[in-house]
Amino acid sequence: MHDDEKSVKDSKELTEDRSGVSRRDFLKISTIAAAVPVVAGPKMVMAAGEQVPVHGPGKVPMTFNVNGKSYKATLEPRVTLLDALRDSLDITGAKRVCDKAECGACTVLLDDKAVYACSVLAIEAQGKKITTVEALMEGGKLHPIQQAFVDNDASQCGFCTPGFVVACKAMLDKHPDPTADDLLRELSGNLCRCGTYAGIRGAVAQAARKGA
């Protein structure tokens, strides 16, 4: 809560139009400003000296580009990308574990960058390319990273696995030949309870060798 207060105090511009805008709404405004394509009937308010659209609190129509396909859903602006994928689009590869950016089980790619889907609002993900673990297979064939996970027995219960696979994909796209340091840095945001780290290390090494 501390941060909310600070941001409200700092934003002197937010004056006249404050009527009807709660602190919570303000936070939403500050994060969604300008990034959102205009959809049906947003309310316009003055924020930071600019007119910005405010969506919600009711449901609003949204469009997503997931794994190359276009999806429509009507959701409250407070819905996270993770919940939108899982509960509205029934794309359940990304898992909900901590729901607050601590474990990496929900990792997806947003414009090819790894993000925690539990910590991105669905409304912000519009207009971006969303890639989940489901998209990595091609023509029924496992992606070399996925094959490397299989070959190195890098999953036990498997609940953390989709997050790790996607994080590995993002890492290898960035560092095709990762050093041990790259590996530790880029995968340090993912946790596994069953203890598959040894297999994951082997999988990354194999995938890097094969130029995945």
Partner: protein, 792 residues
């Protein structure tokens, strides 16, 4: 008589090899469906209002405002006014609504009033003289003991010794039996002395167990060459399954319930839901494809599981899903009991252990809990033991990988390691010197040198505190452990179809341990096929029942039932095929995708062709394994394994940070079905072990009685960065294989705490007695160590 015996090494095509996990492709591609992923048409979302207080009485519940919120479809009061709550986060009111947000709004609109009661969340050493001796056992005590899986014979002896504070009616006993309470306990309750005057008496939080002694301990201590004393312990930790507990329930019709549940015991869930829902177990179908971890915490439907069924009933049968939020998962859905002890041990000059004395305590939450099995593995010739269970308000304990053993290992192996240091002995020599006091001396004697070789013990070990360069202190430590692991009861149906396909139906579950792979390997091995040729149907109460996956009982159970079914089916197929090969059925073998005459591989037909001779109906056989060894002829599973682990650490004496730099495990588990799954299981246990040794602790706030670190930032799990090189060696071959199949989930999770603690003591020259080995504790121990030296 069909030859069910496991084939010998020459005749195994897949058993004992490294076979890839059959469900890995589903898991790596996001196709594997977990309970959390289940979405049913018209599904509602469940949420629970939970007690903010650790100990209180519910005085009133008002749901009227919540009922009026649009989208709220059902409300169920779980604990009615008058109920006593024993931990923060306990369930009070359940709600189902069209989406999660609406359900949360409804929770906020419910008004519950509580009368606060004094709570205790500490498990610190009981004050001197605190606590009462065990009095007559109340109905609650008994329930707590059963919930906390106190061993059957311990419960019976307590009942016999202290009697009951209530007279159980035949109806109570019948209900208890239906809930699965063993007959022996019911008999003890039936014939127990009854002391009704003890009922309702406010109990102390501290409950002393009768002290136990053996031999002349005082004499042994007074004559010993070396005596060592210390305080050791392991705190309460949580299971923190990545998939939280939860379920989706729906009424197919007014009498039939369909449940998806995240569980370790599919076949056992219906029976546990039947009673509270007042329908026959046969009317409940339970299904689960995959489960995101359990580690001992997912055997029951839990109150929230029952709540989904009741909410669904109130909502006209609509599916209701309730998965625990992460903070709740950590607060209420699983805790490993703590154990601490003041230990005094003594040995002769040559290292022979002569005496053990311990005053131990710990908590398993409201149930208190029992004494861990100390001294662990080493039966000291003279012993004196006292234990005080602390009944407090931290939430209920659940079985955690090898219940009570990791704690017992920390208490015992740390004390013995300190004793070795007192004697200026290398612990490697000290432990081996006393190995005849264990039950598996020959196994350990073979394992010790292998582990030492893998970690480089000879080169790495120095007397305590003598391998320091700059501010980095290095050390090595070891521990050993044991476990049972006999197979549970398991049933399956196996069919060989005329088109050559093979399927197996079994109501078991794969909790990430490779159960699917294990079944497929056993079947394919006997039929001369590949694992991909075996179609598996598991995780449903529509299939023959198979035991819960706990206590390392699954591999022995499922492999034995599968083996019996597949041998019968194969023999039936041989009988159909023999005429075509001009041979007797006994002369045939199934190998490399064909059926052929033994010693004459040119006389052979392909698997497909052989199956075409089956006729119109498939060959279907039933396989059964009984958990009672004597009922299996022959018995294909066994019990009692040993393992040794060694750890190397580097400790930064300025920051107090401990890094495990290498860890090795040598483990026996009888006949190994899939070497790869076995190695992965052990690796996983080492990693989990490093995690609980260095980071994990359920931290309670004494003022509010709530858990302070109920998230994954402050309840820290080991990450990739914390895991060093790991080496696993499985004992196989003669002396091991012929024992039959034994489970492996628990044993390797036992030793890490003790081995790492011993390595840290070796590095620093002082003991950090209580896990986790966090920087603050390391620095405190170093300070104390240097002030002791300064004072000496």
């Amino acid at each position: 008589m069909p030859d069910y015996q496991w084939p010998d090494a020459e005749h195994r095509t897949l058993i004992g090899k490294r076979v890839a996990r059959v469900d890995s492709p589903d898991k790596v591609s996001g196709q594997a469906r977990y309970t959390y992923d289940i979405k049913r048409p018209g599904m509602l979302f469940g949420k629970m209002l939970r007690s903010p207080y650790a100990h209180c009485k519910v005085t009133s519940v008002d749901t009227s405002a919540a009922e009026k919120i649009p989208g709220v479809k059902a409300i169920e009061v779980v604990q009615k006014p008058g109920s006593t709550i024993h931990w923060a986060g306990d369930e009070v009111v359940a709600v189902a609504a069209v989406d999660e947000a609406t359900a949360e709004d409804a929770i906020r609109a419910i008004v519950v009033k509580y009368q606060k009661l004094p709570h205790l969340v500490s498990d610190a050493e009981p004050p001197e003289g605190a606590g009462e001796s065990q009095g007559p056992i109340s109905m609650d005590d008994l329930g707590d003991m059963l919930d906390n899986q106190v061993p059957e014979n311990q419960i019976i002896s307590l009942i016999k010794q202290y009697g009951l504070s209530f007279k159980p009616t035949e109806n109570d006993l019948k209900e208890a039996k239906e809930e699965g309470v063993p007959d022996a306990i019911l008999d003890a309750a039936r014939s127990a002395e009854v002391h009704p005057e003890a009922a309702g008496k406010q109990k102390s939080n501290y409950q002393k167990a009768a002290s136990q002694s053996q031999g002349d301990v005082d004499k042994a201590f007074s004559e010993a060459a070396a005596v060592s004393e210390g305080i050791y312990g392991a705190p309460v930790i949580t299971h923190c399954c990545m998939e939280s507990h939860g379920s989706t329930s729906e009424w197919i019709d007014p009498d039939h319930l369909f449940v998806h549940m995240s569980t370790q015991g599919v076949s056992g869930i219906a029976g546990q839901m039947a009673e509270p829902l007042k329908i026959p177990a046969a009317n409940i179908r339970v299904h689960q494809d995959h489960v995101g971890g359990g580690f001992g915490s997912k055997f029951g439907p839990d109150r929230w599981g029952i709540a989904t069924a009741k909410l669904s009933q109130k909502a006209g049968g609509k599916p209701v899903r309730m998965m625990l939020e992460r903070d709740v998962e950590l607060q209420v859905a699983g805790a490993r009991p703590s154990a601490y002890a003041k230990v005094k041990v003594a040995a002769k000059k040559d290292g022979t252990l002569v005496a053990w004395q311990s005053r131990s305590w710990g908590t398993g939450g409201p149930g208190g809990g029992g004494m861990p099995p100390i001294p662990y593995c080493f039966a000291a010739p003279t012993q004196r033991k006292e234990h005080t269970a602390i009944r407090n308000n931290i939430g209920p304990a659940r079985a955690w990988r090898a219940p009570n053993h990791p704690q017992a290992a920390v208490l015992t192996m740390s004390a013995l390691d300190d004793l070795a240091a007192k004697l200026n002995m290398d612990p490697y020599d000290f432990f081996l010197k006393n190995i005849e006091l264990t039950r598996l001396p020959n196994v350990y004697k073979e394992e010790f040198p292998i582990a030492a070789e893998l970690i480089g013990w000879k080169e790495q070990w120095h007397p305590r505190g003598q391998n320091i360069s700059g501010n980095i202190a290095r050390g090595v430590g070891l521990s050993l452990h044991t476990w049972g692991g006999r197979g549970h009861s398991s049933d399956c149906d196996l069919s060989i179809h005329p088109d050559g396909s093979v399927d197996i139906k079994m109501g078991t579950q794969d909790i990430g341990t490779g159960t699917r792979t294990c079944i497929a390997v056993v079947a394919a091995d006997a039929l001369g096929l590949q694992v991909k040729d075996i179609k598996l149907y598991i995780g449903d109460t529509q299939y023959p029942p198979s035991g819960g996956s706990g206590g390392s009982t699954t591999p022995g159970g499922v492999s034995s039932s599968t083996r019996r079914a597949v041998v019968d089916a194969r023999d039936a197929l041989f009988a159909k095929v023999a005429p075509a090969l001009n041979a007797q059925p006994d002369d045939l073998e199934a190998r490399d995708g064909s059926i052929r005459v033994k010693n004459d591989p040119s006389h052979s037909i392909s698997w497909k062709e052989a199956c075409s001779k089956i006729g119109a109906t498939p060959i279907t056989t039933h396989g059964h394994n009984d958990q009672v060894a004597a009922k299996n002829k022959p018995d294909l599973t066994n019990s009692g394994v040993g393992g040794v682990q060694m750890a190397a650490v580097a400790v930064d004496t300025e920051t107090g940070i401990v890094k495990v730099t290498k860890m090795v495990a040598v483990q026996d588990c009888g006949l190994i079905i899939d070497l790869r799954m076995a190695e992965s299981s052990v690796m996983g246990a080492l990693i989990m072990g490093i995690s609980y040794s260095l980071f994990e602790e359920k931290i309670m706030d004494p003022t509010t009685g709530r858990m302070l670190n109920a998230d994954m930032e402050f309840y820290r799990l080991a990450g990739l960065n914390d895991i060093p090189e790991l080496k696993v060696h499985m004992m196989t071959g003669k002396g091991y294989d012929e024992r039959g199949v034994i489970g492996l989930g628990e044993p390797p999770a036992v030793s890490p705490g003790a081995a790492i603690s011993n390595a840290v003591a070796n590095a620093l020259g002082v003991r950090v007695g209580i896990l986790p080995l966090t920087p603050d504790k390391v620095l405190a121990a170093l300070n104390q160590g240097s002030s002791q030296k300064a004072g000496a």
